[in-house]
Symmetry: C2
Subunit: 187 residues, 2 copies
Amino acid sequence: MRKWAVLNSAVVIENWPYHRTRQDRVRLHNGDAITYYVQEHPDWVNAVVLTPRRQIVLVRQYRHAVGDFVLEVPGGMVEPGEEPAAAIVREVSEETGYVSPLAPICLGSFWPNPAVQTNRVVSFLLLDAAPGSPLHPDRTEDLERVEMTWDRYGELMAQGELPHLFSAVTYYRAREYLSRRRGGERP
Amino acid sequence: MRKWAVLNSAVVIENWPYHRTRQDRVRLHNGDAITYYVQEHPDWVNAVVLTPRRQIVLVRQYRHAVGDFVLEVPGGMVEPGEEPAAAIVREVSEETGYVSPLAPICLGSFWPNPAVQTNRVVSFLLLDAAPGSPLHPDRTEDLERVEMTWDRYGELMAQGELPHLFSAVTYYRAREYLSRRRGGERP
């Protein structure tokens, strides 16, 4: 196995800071040359946000590619020069108005789609969160905050009623972290 | 909250069956008109594949957008007119040479990125898999099959050493399914 050789490369859609599309001409392991599209994105962050009474704080918003309203954990883009932990504190505050007195707990860092997408999504857990800041959604955002018990969220997840992939990974990582902390769940 | 109104729409990159990029001019809830890019993809499938001795069957391959070799569960695209369950049987066979005597168990269906991507990824569990078919990788694929125990895979996942997001969701769903089946794990 070896890496592809890049013969040439050009940006064909410039839509930064959201994304840019790069068109690479590459030579494969078998000698074939093909055209391959890469989506460049800044890193993303998201978080399971829990209140002291074990309510999870979610957002529902319109997601244009699927043409529907999607319930998901809060999150967003890491800004230039920003640490992921600072980015998630900012995003949770902007999208939900909630703040936590504790440092965000990092649950892991993932490639959403390493074949065609350059970035990572970093997942966090925010505990003991409470209302504490005014909402500042981005101008393209139109959000509804939703709260439910952690157990109810787990039931909906198990029933397949929460199809947002990033939220699912963050939920399972948070559950694993919380179980380990109370010395429960076996792997 | 309301859906965006599409003022006009054009395909700006045609790379089907892998993807196409659509450029939509849309009007937001606040009256602003913006340009928004949508990635259209066919649905994807992936699977945790386990042998009778509880080994997981994985593939390692070069992923160009991150420029590195990535260990992941087998998977791929659903072909036109194909059922997701048939697609995963085909992909597992092509990529690993393994076949299962049992029907694939559906673990759920997720939107990888509903803001900008139209498709779903459907996750499966294949049990009692064994070598049984010759490899037929796509011509752009250069794969290495990797096996390890299910417990070892769980350790690497918990340690954050398996950053492939789709694989992580499918792992956690499979673990939940297997735990429920043996009447173990609490939510």
